[in-house]
Symmetry: D3
Subunit: 254 residues, 6 copies
Amino acid sequence: MKILLLNPNTTVAVTDLLHAAGSKVASAGTELVPATAARGVPYIATRAEAQIGGAIALEMLAEAGPGIDAAIIAAFGDPGLFGARELFAFPVVGLAEAAMLTACMLGRRFSIVTFAGALAPWYEECVAMHGLSSRCAGIRTLDGGFQSISGVQAEKEELLVALANQAVEQDGADVVILSGAPLAGLAARVRDRIPVPVVDPVAAAVRQAETLAVLKPRKAVAGTFRRPDPKPTLGLAEPLAAIIEHRSPKEGTD
Amino acid sequence: MKILLLNPNTTVAVTDLLHAAGSKVASAGTELVPATAARGVPYIATRAEAQIGGAIALEMLAEAGPGIDAAIIAAFGDPGLFGARELFAFPVVGLAEAAMLTACMLGRRFSIVTFAGALAPWYEECVAMHGLSSRCAGIRTLDGGFQSISGVQAEKEELLVALANQAVEQDGADVVILSGAPLAGLAARVRDRIPVPVVDPVAAAVRQAETLAVLKPRKAVAGTFRRPDPKPTLGLAEPLAAIIEHRSPKEGTD
Amino acid sequence: MKILLLNPNTTVAVTDLLHAAGSKVASAGTELVPATAARGVPYIATRAEAQIGGAIALEMLAEAGPGIDAAIIAAFGDPGLFGARELFAFPVVGLAEAAMLTACMLGRRFSIVTFAGALAPWYEECVAMHGLSSRCAGIRTLDGGFQSISGVQAEKEELLVALANQAVEQDGADVVILSGAPLAGLAARVRDRIPVPVVDPVAAAVRQAETLAVLKPRKAVAGTFRRPDPKPTLGLAEPLAAIIEHRSPKEGTD
Amino acid sequence: MKILLLNPNTTVAVTDLLHAAGSKVASAGTELVPATAARGVPYIATRAEAQIGGAIALEMLAEAGPGIDAAIIAAFGDPGLFGARELFAFPVVGLAEAAMLTACMLGRRFSIVTFAGALAPWYEECVAMHGLSSRCAGIRTLDGGFQSISGVQAEKEELLVALANQAVEQDGADVVILSGAPLAGLAARVRDRIPVPVVDPVAAAVRQAETLAVLKPRKAVAGTFRRPDPKPTLGLAEPLAAIIEHRSPKEGTD
Amino acid sequence: MKILLLNPNTTVAVTDLLHAAGSKVASAGTELVPATAARGVPYIATRAEAQIGGAIALEMLAEAGPGIDAAIIAAFGDPGLFGARELFAFPVVGLAEAAMLTACMLGRRFSIVTFAGALAPWYEECVAMHGLSSRCAGIRTLDGGFQSISGVQAEKEELLVALANQAVEQDGADVVILSGAPLAGLAARVRDRIPVPVVDPVAAAVRQAETLAVLKPRKAVAGTFRRPDPKPTLGLAEPLAAIIEHRSPKEGTD
Amino acid sequence: MKILLLNPNTTVAVTDLLHAAGSKVASAGTELVPATAARGVPYIATRAEAQIGGAIALEMLAEAGPGIDAAIIAAFGDPGLFGARELFAFPVVGLAEAAMLTACMLGRRFSIVTFAGALAPWYEECVAMHGLSSRCAGIRTLDGGFQSISGVQAEKEELLVALANQAVEQDGADVVILSGAPLAGLAARVRDRIPVPVVDPVAAAVRQAETLAVLKPRKAVAGTFRRPDPKPTLGLAEPLAAIIEHRSPKEGTD
């Protein structure tokens, strides 16, 4: 089974973190195929960047081709997820979606704990977009900057553990989600220092993507995620244009 | 990995259906351990029966012992689920919960399609209990009786497919869940006659239970699902009494 | 008029408190018939215990027989209430339900003030189950243990009054509900030390049960609380089995 | 016990209907004191009329004086209720509020069935004002005019019963409320022709007013229903002006 | 274009503040026609006063006559707004409504900052009445009294700015609304001392009233704001009675 | 005053419709500056297209330069709106947002009536994104295809009027919004054939953009719409890259 692990950010080191953490929970026959955005920002943190990054995620999915059994949009906030679910026949799961739905099986309310305050509005809208606001105890973020996006989990480990404990004690969290992508792998390292289950989004996403691939749901031909009718496009990346226009991609054009 | 497939109803033939459908999606190393309630009703369909059946589910979980990696409460409606999540250290997932959360990754709104009108109020309260009402397009049920609980899926196949199609066309369902336990296995058979993804609750539950077992979440020692303090009991089934009293079960008493 | 005052816990001293406080507001012709659970736990405090205690409440209601005009399930959290409303022809009211609905006539938002933190998750789910979350200003609980369940109201009186005052000042409560059953009678004693109306759940429940008995609503034969069709049972307490099977109870079997 | 039965409409015949239906369920020692608005409209049916009628209700309550143990604002829609709850020391209950809260103890969702389409928007906002929208299965109204407001229940009896049955069958109502004031007494007459419990708002209101009078809640001195500080007024009805200004009413001025 | 600027309070000095602040943003051809209530209270602060003041607002609108292009009910809380929208053919906008809807275009959540704690319950119900609770970050009010209602904005300027900053920092407000009518004009003076956009309700209301006047929406003849059928009245102010009875006002009667 | 009228679709003829309808309600001193997307799709109708079109809208806003007083994202569904509100100092309003907020001042619930079923899921998520679901009576769409996107309003006029009337009669709409951009100008032509106020989104948007420009709200430096900190980018359109990186755009690069 091939699962596309799509990082819509441009930081390869974060893709590596995601791949490493995801591989630890992948089933024997699963191949995780990493991909890093060729354009965009080093890490998506705002609504504007999610708007842009989501469009890039669609381009990347279109490029990934027909050999994929399922795909993960590996940025917490799930940029482009619903659009992807319209366009493609293989299942697509979001990092936030997978983490939150998994957390729902471990407690009544989850808290999202992350490393930068700029992420909170986007995360909050993501929770609402999935209809899960009543299951969310809150979003807690660290103040202050950090040295590098791929090193932030090491740099802030103590502070993040303390923040997670506050989420449990003060917000009533039954589960903690350590997000987003740059914290991949942290949950496994700190689980014993937080008194409730801790969810690693990429671990959850790999398992959920496998589940969808095993269940082999048919592509909807009705409902809101049926594939849209073909439509002409202008100036879009060729593989994505081909998908929207319902035609084979032109060779050598992108 | 050992997963307890707990049927809180007394009908062994339904347990067999659950086991057969669950086995098809279980991973290589997974052993599904079936269990059927020794007391209760042939199939839970009302709030009163869910109240009783949930208490029986707790007894059965207490009896199942320490070798379990995860458990499924295999009645759609999830009787006893939150109580189980308090009492036990292994992860417990409900049939409805697993089906609905999986469906959330396949569409915006799911419909629940089932064979008996008596189930609707209980199902509706279950959806609300999980905070998923905004993701539910509706609950559709067949009118009329049926010949046997374990044969109902064969007897009503055509009608259920028609009902699922109505859910898509009239209620705007993106996904259909065919429930409850007595319909285990039906989804695989009818998937091509319904224009959106169809979720089989037991298939979803087996995969989600595996996921929880692989992620190995710690047992909460804080939050609302921490294990309750020990408390004396009177007249309860011995293994459950032992769990509540925080002691080893007395031998030969149950 | 005979009103069953059903304590689904095993502590007779709490039943006595309930009876004493309820009697003070009962109308002249009302007879309160106390009943204490023969099996279960000394006081229900968790979801698991509510699951078990609700099943026991159904057994007790089945046993109480045809001479009852209305019944009160006298544990705040209302274990078994909706199942009872299905099975029985006489009106049944829950302690929490009666207290909250009465409080709604005295203010915009009520706070629930109680003696043990373990109760909060169960209470919160009870508020939501009744669709009253928007009317609830919060649930406040004391920390720390207590000496005896029937003596807790005396032991903690000062702390509970202080907590109620915090609910008014900090949470914006217009009304305070002192719960659950072990605090029966406390409201009358402390009412002048709390600046808003204080509701005693059992007092509210006795009056609401009387109201339902006087209004003599017919037993639903449609809707979600019509009596379920007869169904075979296995291993249930005889009077409850008889109710579910729509037959007369067998003599000498329970 | 004296309970003011305040009709904020100008139709004495409707007050008589209310008094007759309310008297049937009142306790032995209860005296219902009827009052009919001296100005306003024959029956309130719109938001504009409720705005005016609610102000008149406050005037009437101010005039009713200190001998009252509780008051009922006897127009479904509860004009002036929250303002009354601020200004007066005795408990005040609304016709809609009492009916809906009582209905909540008889089913999961109630339907409101009434005789004129013009009432629906006002009723709907009343349900929302009380935070009970999730408990309301719908509002059904007859089309067409009627001959007299006090005779409408006789004229439309068959149609209203048919409408109530539709509410049960099509909207999933567990309980039916026959409203508003001009239908007082109808519920008792038609209860056997509707398959779920039927609530008569004035019967519910009399019992709930009695309950509040017996429970003797203190007047709030904190929270949102504490009495407002004194404030000068200009041109208001003298007894109401006196209440707002915290002074004794001037004699002979109104 | 003539816009009625209706102050349902009796304080002319507040009308002057409203007129001055409104005039600064009015378009070239707009004439603001101020009106001050001849009866009522100096400023509406409670639900009881809003009930009375809303009825007075309807009287004032009826009196204002046919030359008006649009009207503003210039008390934050919008007393009588929905009733006015039923009765009159010209558009009517509320101060709170205009401020909140305008704020929605400037941020995700607005906070309402005001000078007296007594206003909070009424404001909160106003937010809910408009279906905007999810857009409201909170309502913050000053403690303590003030010297005069028309001087309160000068007296409390520093405290209000501090409160607005707290709303941003602690409640997550993206926008601040300085309300109600007595603060008209303050926003313009303090905008640089608050780090998010600040909305002056009367400025917003004047612009929104102009917008409605320019868009010239037809008077509804269907839906919940169609004009109610004629109905007899008793003892109401003559111009309002004429509107309700669908007749020309009698001369010299009011 | 210069208002950018940004069409994120590639169809110039639709931009012309928008400009014509918007010009009719613009104030004397207002200049509407039309802009049509140079890449993308002829009209956005799905989530995928909105994801792409929203990113294009950000590029267009970045290009539009510093002379703009306010901007309108003129596709119903508001692609890129919240991102735009982060990045830019001038006010930005969405077509759907402006139409819905304006409609809120004309009725309790609005219906959205449009020409293609494919739009409904995107519109529904847009309503929810703005927190206005409780104000929306429904979304009604025509079945079947159409000949050209710029001619669809002429081709379907009768059907759209009929659909609007159904929304009023069957869904209880108080106001109808005729959307999206390709219907610009239709509302003025059909207003007398629909019994409730009809809102033309571009007319509403032009007036609301003017209002924001007149009120001159400061750019937030706190809250969720403060401008994000500078961040490196890779491969984005130069003007947008410059905005995100907080630098002047490089000349001749785009």
